[in-house]
Each structure stands twice: as C-alpha cells, then as structure tokens.
C-alpha cells in the first residue's frame, strides 16, 4: 500500500477545513501536487502545503494510505465522503471526521470532535479515544442518518449519537455503533440502527426509537417511561445475524412512537 505522510506544521488560528484530505483526492498525485490542494482557513483559501509537511507517494484510491501526525483538534472534515483507502490519524481530530464516508477505513489514535462519522454510508471509523456529540448522527433536518458501516469508539460518545440511523434489510444495510459508554439521547429517532455499549449510558437512551436494537452491557440510570419491561433473555440476535450471549433484561419501546414496536433495549442483568 502506498503511503503518504502529513505532518501539521503550525496550529491554525481558525478552524481549518480539510475535506480534500481523502484517499480519493490524493490518488495518483505526487507530494508536490498534494501540497497545492486547497484548504479553507477563516474566509481565506490556503494551500495544504502551508499547514502540512507532505512526503511519500500515492497510488489508486484503494491502495492509498494517508498517515497524519500532530494535534489536529482544530482541523475539520478529514475523510469526508471518502470511498476507499485508509487514513490513520495520530492525535486528536476536530469535527466531522469521516462524515458521509462510503468506504475504506479511518483510524483515530486520539479523541475525535463532534459529528464524527455523521451520516456514514459505509466503511469503518475507529476512534481509540473519546468522541464528541452527534457521532454517526444525521445532520440538521435530515431524516436519514447513518445508513451502513461501522463506528467503533473505545471511550465515550457524546449526546445524540446515532441520531436518525436507518437500516435496510432488503439492501443489506446495517449501521452499527460500538462504544465504551454514552451520553444522553443515544439512538434518538432510531430506525433500525444497532448500538452496543460496553459500559454505562446516560438518560433517555432510545428516545423516539421506531425500531432497532440498543445493547447496554453496563448500567442505565432510568429508562424513559415509554419503555416496557418484557423479561429476561440470554441470547440476542443482531440485525446483521450476529449473536450476543449473556444475561440481559429486554425492554420494548419507544411506545410513544408506536403501540406495537420492534424497538428493543437490552440491559445487562
């Protein structure tokens, strides 16, 4: 795999919008050509070379790996709409990393900002730290959020993660979020997304869930009153066919959306 290395030279004063940093845009370009790509800094257009040292070379989209070093917490939109290849980020990353990506893989070895993996359509986003709010969520006003792909977060995800997630059995699309723990409103307006939380969640998990599965292996403070206890269960079959075993209590809901619902929350017993 051809590797391109980017190293942040100086901290941007304003957020740096770097949606050009994707394997799709870097493919078959030399380091010199990549340096000339345009980024947005405040209301000015700057060159990628102004802020990053670039080395290495690229290949086709699938064969291109981008490694980025430095504190990128003020750099936004890396990996936006990428379709293949790989990005590895060694450090913290700002908002919108991997938003609307369709394929390939992004690994963040640090914390990620808000809207990481927003409206993901495929591929894999792995965050080996904490993540901000709206992880894998729909953007404002959209009724279809994450449609496919996997987001793995080792630490905590913020509020309203997996907002408006939408699965499709016919199209074989199963959006999946795995996280260490979660803030409130996890899986809000869920339409078939699968969420697995290794630790605890906060209030209002699964609010307005139409259908879908939320598995909590830690503790939940109190569920919404519109969730009803169904009973104990020892095996959960996920939408994509995988199975999870263990002692869980099964709740159905959100009954404020429908009287009879396929929405489920499982909490470890």
């Amino acid at each position: 795999m051809a590797e391109i290395k980017l190293k942040l030279k100086e901290q941007p004063r304003f957020p740096l919008e770097a949606e050009v940093i994707t394997p799709d845009n870097f493919a078959t370009k030399t380091a010199a050509q990549i340096k000339k790509l345009e980024l947005f800094h405040g209301n000015e257009i700057v060159k990628l070379g102004d802020f990053f040292e670039v080395s290495g070379k690229s290949n086709d989209v699938k064969d291109t790996k981008i490694v980025i070093e430095g504190d990128l917490s003020n750099v936004k939109r890396i990996g936006e709409k990428m379709t293949g290849g790989e990005i590895i980020i060694d450090g913290d990353i700002g908002m919108h990393v991997g938003n609307q990506m369709k394929g390939g893989k992004i690994t963040v070895n640090g914390n990620a900002g808000d809207w990481a993996g927003a409206m993901l359509k495929g591929g894999e986003l792995e965050i080996n730290g904490d993540a901000g709010n709206y992880i894998g969520a729909a953007y404002r006003g959209f009724w279809i959020g994450m449609e496919n792909g996997v987001i793995k977060v080792k630490g905590k995800v913020g509020r309203e993660s997996m907002l408006w997630a939408r699965s499709s059995k016919g199209a074989n699309k199963f959006p999946l979020l795995k996280c260490g723990s979660a803030e409130s409103f996890l899986g809000m307006h869920n339409h078939g997304g699968t969420i697995i939380v290794e630790g605890d969640v906060n209030l209002y998990t699964g609010a307005d869930q139409a259908w879908g599965q939320i598995i909590i292996k830690g503790k939940a403070p109190r569920l919404l009153p519109s969730y009803k206890k169904m009973g104990e269960i020892s095996e959960i079959e996920l939408a994509n066919g995988e199975k999870i075993t263990g002692k869980f209590i099964e709740y159905s809901g959100d009954h404020s959306v429908k009287k009879e619902t396929n929405g489920r929350i499982y909490i470890a017993n």
């Binding site: 919008e17 800094h41 709206y134 519109s226």
Partner: protein
Amino acid sequence: MVEKKYKTFYDVICPFCGTLCDDLEIDVDEKAQEVVEVRNGCQIGTRKFFSSNPSGHRYMTPLIRENGSYKEISWDEAIDKAADILAKAKRPLLYGFASTECEAQSKGVELAEILGGILDNTASVCHGPTLLAEQDVGVPTSTLGEYKNRADLVIFWGCNPVHAHPRHLGRYSDFVRGYFRQDGRNDRYIIVVDPRNTNTAQIADLYIKVNPNEDYELMNAIRATLRGVEIDQKEVAGVKKEDLIKVTNIMKESNYGVIFFGMGLTQSISHHRNIDTAVCLTRELNDHTKFSITPMRGHYNITGSNTVFTWNTGYAYSIDFSRGYPRYNPGEFSAVDVLLRDEIDASLIVASDPASNFPAAAVRNMFKHPIISIEPHHTPTSVNADIILPAAFAGIETEGTAYRMDHVPLRLRKVKNPPGETLPDREILEKLIEKVKEKKGE
C-alpha cells in the same frame, strides 16, 4: 377651547416582546420630541418608550475608545474605522438583530455575505432549539387570533407570560373573549406545567409541578398514554400516574387545545428534544381533537430575524459565510460556540447585548477582539466596545416591519424623531456595506 399640548398616536405597535401589541396610544411632546405618556401598554413596553427619551444612558454621537476612554468622532470617521476592522477580519461574527426591524436584518445578511463572516441572531441562546426541532419533526401551529377565538384548552409549559409577555393572557390566551369563547376566562381551561409555582401557575385551573429538567419524560409518558400504553412507573417526573392519565384525558376531550412553551423547555437539559417531543405530542393529539403549538418568542422581532435570514440564506440562524455561500450548523457556527472556542477575530453586535446573556468564558473571548456595537443605549456589551455607532429605536424613532411570535408581520410606527446624531440601524448597516465594499475593492 383648550389647546392640545401633545400629539397622540393611536394603534402604535409595541416593540418590546414577541406579543407585539398593536393598540398602544402614545402622547408625544412634538417640540421636545419626547414621549410623555403611554396608554394600554404593559409595564415593560411602557418603559421602553420612555427609555427612548434623551438621557445619560443614550448614545447621541459615534464614539471610539482610545486609551480606555471614549472620544466623540464623526460618522464618516466611525464608519471608516469600523469597516476597516471588519474588512481585515478573517472570521468576523455578526450577532444580534432580534430587536431591530426586518429591513436592517436583511442588510445584516448582506454585510455578513460580503465579509465572509458568521451570522447569528439571539435565537441561538433562546428559541434556537425550537427551530432545530421544527426542522426534525415539523410544527403544527396557528396564529394567535385563532387561539383567541377557538381554544378552550390552553397549556403554558415552561413559560411565565404574566411576567414575560404580560398582555398575552389578556389579548389572546386567557381572559379575552373570542368568537366561540364568549365567556372569556370561564370558557377556557388553563394548565400550567412548571417546576415553580409562578404567577401564571396561580391563575391556572390545573398546575402540574414537574421536576426540573424532567419535562421530556413527562411528555414522553403522556404520548405513550395517548397511544393506549399503560406505563410501568407509578410516578413520572414528580407527577403521579393518575394525574398523568387525567391530563391526557383533558387534552383528548378538549375542542381546540394549544401549547405555549417558553425557555423552560428550550433551555433546560434536553433542549431541542423537549420541543421535538412536544411537537410529536401535538401532532398525535390531532388524531383525537384539534391541537396546535406556539413558542413564546421573547424579543419583539426575533421571529422576523429568523424569517429574514431564512428567505435570504435558507437558514434561520447560526450561518457561516466563510466559503462565500451560506452553511448552517448550530453547535459549529453558533455565536456562543465559536466564542468558547475563540474562533473569531472581530465582532459586530447589532441591537443586542451578548455580554449580559452569554457564558462568562464566551464573553471574555469576545472582549479579546475588536467589537463594534450598533446600539441606542449603554449596555454591558456596548460599554466594552471599541466603536459605538448610535442607533435610533426601531418602532419608536424609525419605521420598519416586525414579525409577531406567530409569524404575522406588522408595520412598526415612527412616533418621534431620532435624537442627536442617531441613525436607524438600516442606514448604519448600509453605510458599513458601502465602505466595506470599497475597502475590499468590489
């Protein structure tokens, strides 16, 4: 015959709160150009008219701060210096616009576009969550006149109109006689949901004391009950299950219900999701009866700023023009968030006072960079500004259009001339646009 001392203006619109009362009578001393008497107005609206009279609190000439004190300068010089700051800024913030008229607001949009800046109005710290929820789930709403004539169930949720919108109850929602509600107050059932026993709660037929920050759960439980689901809990958010069922039945059995909500919902812990579920509740109640929902907007023309920004850019608030075209994302481009992250390098504050309302950390970051304030009188923001451009009061000293909380546009009146060198917000912004264009070489 007694000579008339003062000129009286009838049917004047009150430019204070979102109720936009349109029946004020103002006596003006024409010679001194001062308001001497206000009739029909509430306490707050009346004070606003009197505060427009020249006093030590009003700015009469443009001011610039030099070595810690303010110096009077000419309009040309002030506009030139202000335009210089804005044109050089790489990420300027234009904030406010709620307490001015629509024509000035559209000039603000034009200026933000030329500057490539961030444009926001006070909705981002007040009813912005309402707009977010409306984008997610829509809004079944109506005009205030309809409620006055038809509503027999009025719910005030997380708002206290007795203090915040004093004449709302008398004009539209409580004591007023309507076409189908001939007996006024006796023909309406009033429910107040609030953690505090407010003055509005004291005049209600039913007061529901909800635990602070748990409104979401209560509405969620009502929605489930409405669907015929029996909830597991004995008590939700401090409200007993029997009471919950009782309220649900009152809602279902009404002929026409309306929910008015305030910042008790939008600015408590669940923010826009409170409104999301309130709108869903209203929608679901329409399976049983007729129900509507309306936010109690604060500033008199905040609805107008949302409307004007929307027809100009497609978005109601939190707009970023840094790429030349409008982008929208509250949380990313909203004023408080960009200030907390210290992303801006200059700010233009129009007809609002963020220093009193924003978190201290955000205000500290705002004060680090140059501030230009278009403002009629002393505020905590303007007394820290670098350039103060004195404005005339829209709706008192200049005409314009304003939108009532139910999106009804009304024409504001001019009852007296602006004092000193003050100019209408619109004209100040026009001057700034012209100068910024010149400096940017357009």
